[in-house]
């Protein structure tokens, strides 16, 4: 087993990975940018290396600096977390060349699965259902339009290399097709350096269901069941759960089998996620493979009891999976809510800043993966995820109740968060009924306003708090009013 692992990431995921490393007796090396000097992942690391600079490109994405830090600190392995270098085949290759173990799949697997039409061909050949559409990319507009007509409208036009919505558009009619293909090809060229695009069937209101897989170097492949991740805003998941309320037992069996077939077809090793779209008739189609630890992996950990990060490290160290498929059972229900620094009242715009107060919920069935502490800074340079609230209970109904309790006990002050919005989504009849499609948030936000009925009590509490200036509180602290915000003199001794 490794004695030192470098965690090439920041935020809650770096903190979470380090927790498992500490349990395994593995020394952790953190890395940090200038603005992350006092970030929690630095404080939690046994050793932290400054990368210098603050932009992602010059810090968490800088392969040379990360490799140099691993060398300097004697790390035998690097865990990339998610985002940043996690799905960068070039980085994985570089690790292989340097003799450092990359905790993830081999670099050529990352590369193949990153090429969308190649991945489609691999999956199709492996017997995995893919969305009807082109298996080879093209930049020939006439060919593209002809294929679109064969597939039948509406269709989705996508970049063969891209991701993140760039070069992607829905085409509803034959008339609009040529122009859409031209625009998509141009965008793909600008963004990814390739004009190659492809056309596939567009699914309306699909559900997003993914399957967690684990594969060891000997070729043993297991699945850890599915996650339902349809509740998204800006194509980014905000609520995930498992089991999926939309899968019947036979569909669950099929989709998990398909995920195993996908992992085998790709020669997969380590932990990965096979994403599918599910149509209204229960048909499912391969979307892509995420060749890394997912943000939402904790819901799977809670219902299967498996520590996925520990398994990743063991597999990377060459240990076999000492589990069989029958050992892995879904028990109870788990829901994850992502707590971003963002404003649900304003298109979920990110809100960097300083967290002045935080109190996380706790108790039975509650897990919070977080990088928050009072006084911590949420920098503008990176993804605004602050914490993940994960709850587990015997049934979906009990889990919903637990999630509502936990959200109401989750206090973050100083930056905006969607906590009240998430609580209202979870409490909604539509969510309770399991009506979770990728359109959910757009539909729900339409009719949503935050509850302001408590404003009077809030005003009273604030007035009392202001009045207690310089009085001693129960815990022996003195409450101070900053001079710049003291409209009233001290009320010490004030009585009617």
């Amino acid at each position: 087993m490794f004695d030192t692992i470098l965690v090439a990431n920041r935020g809650e995921i770096a903190v979470r990975i380090m927790a498992t490393c500490r349990e395994m007796g593995i020394r952790t090396v953190g890395v940090y940018s200038d603005v992350d000097r006092h970030a929690l992942h630095v404080i939690e690391a046994d050793r932290a290396v400054a990368l210098g600079g603050s932009n992602p490109a010059e810090t968490y994405l800088d392969i040379d600096k990360i490799i140099a830090a691993a060398r300097a600190e004697g790390a035998q392995a690097i865990h990339p977390g998610y985002g940043f270098l996690a799905e960068n085949a070039q980085f994985a290759r570089r690790c292989e060349q340097e003799g450092i173990v990359f905790i993830g799949p081999p670099s050529d697997v990352i590369r193949d699965l990153g090429d969308k039409t190649l991945a489609r061909r691999v999956m199709h050949a492996g017997g995995v259902p893919v969305i009807p559409g082109m298996m080879e990319p093209s930049s020939d507009i006439r060919e593209l339009v002809q294929k679109a007509e064969e597939i039948g409208f509406p269709v989705m036009v996508k970049s063969a290399k891209g991701g993140g919505g760039k070069g992607m558009r829905v085409v509803e009619t034959p008339q609009a097709c040529a122009e859409a293909c031209e625009a998509a090809s141009r965008e793909s060229m600008n963004a990814f350096g390739s004009a190659d695009i492809y056309v596939e069937k567009y699914l309306r209101s699909p559900r997003h269901v993914e399957v967690q897989v684990l594969a060891d170097a000997s070729g043993k492949v297991l699945h850890l069941y599915e996650r339902e991740c349809s509740i998204q805003r800006r194509h980014q998941k905000i609520i995930e759960e498992t089991p999926s309320p939309s899968l019947t037992p036979p569909v669950r069996r099929s989709i998990c089998e398909a995920a195993l077939a996908a992992a085998r077809a790709a020669g997969y090793v380590n932990a990965g996620t096979v994403e599918f779209l599910l149509d209204e008739e229960g048909g499912f189609y391969f979307l892509e493979v995420n060749t890394r630890l997912q943000v939402e992996h904790p819901v799977t950990e809670m219902v299967t009891g498996v520590d996925i990060v520990r398994r990743q490290i063991e597999i990377a160290a060459g240990m076999p999976l000492d589990l069989d498929q029958d050992d892995i059972v879904q028990r109870g229900h788990a829901i994850e809510c992502r707590i971003y620094a963002e404003d649900p009242m304003n298109s979920f715009m990110p809100c960097p800043g300083k967290v002045v107060f935080v109190q996380e919920p706790k108790g039975p069935g509650i897990r919070v993966d977080s990088c928050l502490y009072p006084g911590c800074t949420v920098p503008m340079e990176y993804d605004p995820i602050l914490a993940k609230l994960v709850v587990h209970a015997e049934t979906r109904d009990a889990c919903i109740q637990r999630a509502m309790r936990a959200l109401r006990e989750f206090a973050v002050m100083g930056v905006l968060t969607p906590i009240p919005f998430l609580a209202d989504v979870i409490a909604s009849e539509a969510f309770r009924r399991g009506e979770t499609t990728t359109d959910f948030v757009d539909d729900f936000i339409e009719g949503w306003t935050p509850d302001v009925s408590g404003a009077d009590i809030v005003a009273l509490a604030a007035a009392i708090h202001l009045s207690l200036s310089r009085e001693r509180t129960v815990d022996g602290h003195v409450v101070h009013t900053p001079a710049e915000y003291s409209p009233w003199l001290s009320l010490k001794g004030f009585r009617p």
């Binding site: 304003n346 503008m380 990176y382 100083g414 009590i457 809030v458 009273l460």
Partner: protein, 175 residues
Amino acid sequence: MHVRFDLKIAGRDVCVRLERLDDGFVAAWVDDRRIEASFAAVTKNVLYLTAGPGSQKVCLERTPEGTYVNVKGATWLVRDAHAADAGRPRRKGGAPLQREVTPPMPSVVVSVLVEEGQEVEQGQGVVVVSAMKMETTLYAPYAGVVKKIRCSAGEKVMPGTVLVEIERTGREQER
């Protein structure tokens, strides 16, 4: 003897008059509503408040911007109504109504889309900024001529900083 607080909460002015504030008991008017409540300052950040049939834990933290208050997971910023800037009106689902080219949050400038002296239409994109992996285009709030560009690509900028000055050429400018 009364102590009066003019507060601003969620865009609304609220007047709180404390009539009595004994150890653990408060009597107050909140606008026109009479509230008698018992309370305990449990820690410097936690107030335990019993008003009417229920009790609640309230978390509070005072900052130069105002007092943050959290009840049941929802955070409120309570400001002194006199000190608080009037507050920009906000529309749900839309950016704040801007009269100037300024970023909505601390950001990095990705690119400047105009040049000094250039004529711009109302709503034309002038600067692209990026924060937390999300790019936002800032638009010209009115038609005019770009008078001065006050930022460049890669620079960190803050809300309130005017990134591009535009001289209005519409009717209102005519004297």
